[in-house]
């Protein structure tokens, strides 16, 4: 048996899904968090049944890729749990009526039930059950209230056989149901609502946005640097260095296996950044350079997601985003890209047209550095002076704007208008927030760390076989002539395909000037997506558009790298 969770965007389907199955999924306070389906299992009596968390949709007439996923899933379900936002019954019931017209058993979960009390909304549950002809269970997914009743009533889900209506008839029916079951008392605005009004106002909203983004950036750096300086780096230097030094001596301080495991000694000592062995840089880069920033970035991103600020940012950014051929909602995938480009490209599914998805995905993969890459830029370029970090970011931002303006003209089609629901502000649920942070950190550990180790192994083997030297000689005209980097820097570009953090690390032993390091970082950020992003671009855009996108990246990286080399 297969149970589908279907409902409007941002009504709490993912939270109910986690409650039912124990499977943790990313939940946030903005419409469109879930863009593909997630599968989980729960016990129902003696049976083990499949539960699917479906992307939110307002109607069964899809307007974007995420909604199409929802519609395709519907035909495969045996029972539909229609998750409804109780504070917004009227709009949610339209989808409910559409579901009741299908030949599938439905049960309604009236979620956010606690909010109806705060908002002075009174819903006559018995009456609603009678009219709809299906079980209606009030729930508060975030606290777990009503979930047990929902499970107990699952077998009572029925298909009432409502005749098929036209759109106008359905809206009329919704109106009449609301008349009969809902009473709303007048009440005053809360402080959260006043803040909500201020944050979409062009002037106060602009100030709030600048404060939030600048503050977020500073806090990410503060926490990231703090974790490195006080926790991770001391752990490595005090505990791990003695072990490696001893091991290095035992292995005779050089040789093929020594270099693979411990790396080359720098001035007779193990150097976590420059040695490039599996046990030195292979562990130091992911754990002491990147992980601290993964934690700090996703902590702040999670807060922004859970409060409900992101859709407001989308409203404010709409005018700017139109300049680059997108509308305001594209800011959400873009922000996710600062963590990792893979979920960012997936999140472009919330955009309406293929054209927008192509532009958004291309801009993200070229100009938005992921957290791992940024951590290495902070660590290596920041050491030479923060003005060079500013040059890297400034260049990438300029590329984002200029390339966006070009793509807007070059890719035919019109920009769809922004149309989004703005959820109320909520205080972030700290437990769920920490769980989400853990999921993302864990994701980094299991997906990125093996790749980082693999990349370092590959580097050592390629060096040993002399392949890198051959490539370096072959590409020297471009790398040295155009970009002004030593010819060995091409190895970083090659490894950038596996992991960009390791690639930036490879620039460290080359004794570059600060300017060269900035050029190298920019080119690495833009040049080519890492393999994980490459795969997701291929899946989401199709082979032709992915190749176009990759072509744009290579061309743009060489042009911008060349120009930057002339300036610096």
């Amino acid at each position: 048996m297969r149970i589908l969770l279907i409902g409007n965007p941002n009504v709490g389907k993912s939270v109910i899904f986690s409650r039912l199955t124990g499977v943790r999924v990313i939940a946030s306070n903005y419409p469109g968090t879930t863009v593909s389906y997630t599968r989980g299992y729960m016990k129902l009596g003696e049976d083990r049944v499949e539960v699917i968390d479906v992307p939110g949709t307002y109607t069964l007439e899809p307007t974007c890729e995420a909604e199409e996923v929802a519609l395709r899933m519907l035909d495969s379900g045996d029972v539909v749990v229609n998750v409804v936002n109780a504070t917004n019954l009227e709009r949610n019931l339209y989808l409910t009526l559409q579901l009741l017209e299908r030949n599938v058993p439905v049960i309604v979960a009236l979620n956010m039930w606690d909010d109806t009390r705060h908002q002075g909304i009174n819903i006559d549950l018995d009456r609603l059950r009678d009219i709809l002809g299906v079980p209606v269970i009030p729930t508060v997914a975030t606290t777990g209230e009503g979930i047990k009743e929902l499970v107990e009533n699952l077998p009572k889900a029925v298909s009432p056989g409502t005749p098929v209506h036209s759109r106008d008839e359905r809206w009329a029916a919704v109106g009449s149901i609301i008349e009969q079951v809902q009473r709303v008392a007048h009440r005053h605005h809360t402080w959260l609502e006043r803040l909500a009004d201020a944050s979409v106002h062009p002037f106060s909203g602009g100030i709030i946005a600048l404060t939030v983004l600048a503050g977020g950036f500073l806090v990410v750096r503060f926490i990231g640097e703090g974790l490195i300086g006080y926790v991770f780096d001391p752990l490595f230097t005090n505990l791990w260095t003695p072990v490696l030094t001893r091991l290095s001596e035992l292995m005779g301080s050089s040789g093929f296996f020594h270099d693979i495991l411990i790396g080359k000694l720098i001035a007779g000592e193990v150097d976590f950044v420059q040695s490039f062995g599996l046990l030195s840089s292979g562990l130091y880069v992911p754990f002491a350079m990147v992980l601290p920033y993964i934690i700090s970035f996703y902590l702040i991103l999670g807060l922004l997601e859970d409060t409900g600020y992101l859709p407001r940012l989308a409203v404010l950014m709409d005018t700017i985003m139109h300049r680059v051929g997108l509308h305001g909602y594209a800011i959400i995938p873009t922000l996710l890209g600062f963590g990792c480009n893979v979920p960012a490209v997936l999140a472009t599914r919330i955009l309406e047209s293929r054209r927008e998805r192509f532009i958004a995905a291309t801009l993200i993969s070229i100009a938005i550095p992921c957290a791992a890459l940024q951590a290495m830029i902070f660590g290596l370029v920041g050491e030479r002076g923060w003005e060079y970090v500013a040059i890297v970011y400034g260049t990438l931002f300029a590329v984002w704007i200029i390339l966006g303006v070009i793509l807007r003209q070059a890719v035919r089609g019109f920009i769809p208008e922004l149309l989004i629901e703005i959820p109320p502000y909520r205080l972030p649920p700290w437990r769920a927030g920490l769980q989400k942070l853990w999921m993302r950190t864990y994701g980094f550990l299991v997906e990125a760390v093996p790749l980082i180790l693999g990349a370092i192994l590959a580097i050592n083997v390629l060096y040993f076989l002399g392949i890198f030297e051959a490539i370096a000689d072959f590409t020297a005209p471009v790398v040295t002539g155009l970009l002004g980097l030593p010819k060995e820097a091409v190895t970083a570009l090659v490894i950038g395909f596996l992991r960009k953090d390791v690639a930036v690390g490879m620039l460290a032993p080359l004794a570059l000037t600060a300017g060269q390091l900035a050029v190298g970082s920019v080119v690495l950020a833009m040049f080519f997506p890492c393999i994980a992003t490459f795969v997701v671009l291929f899946r989401e855009l199709g082979v032709v558009n992915m190749l176009k996108s990759a072509g744009i990246m290579i061309a743009a990286a060489l042009i911008v790298g060349g120009l930057l080399n002339l300036v610096l």
Binding site: E61, T87, D318
Partner: protein, 81 residues
Amino acid sequence: MQIKTLRDLKSGEGGRIARIDGGHGMVSRLAALGIRPGRRITKLSFGFMRGPVTIEVDRTQVAIGFGMAKRIVVEVQDTAQ
């Protein structure tokens, strides 16, 4: 009684949607969010530099792109009445 587009409404001003001058796609996207003829809406904030207009409908806030806001026609009760 005045007829205005949503774009021309002042912040804080409300009215009843008279009609939506758009194609089928636009009408159904708006309807899905509860924005359809006959509904009462209140404008919350204006679109600066052709930015989106924010409205409240059924206690929900919705942001509507400038181009769409021009095509939503609203009946406003005269304040003099």
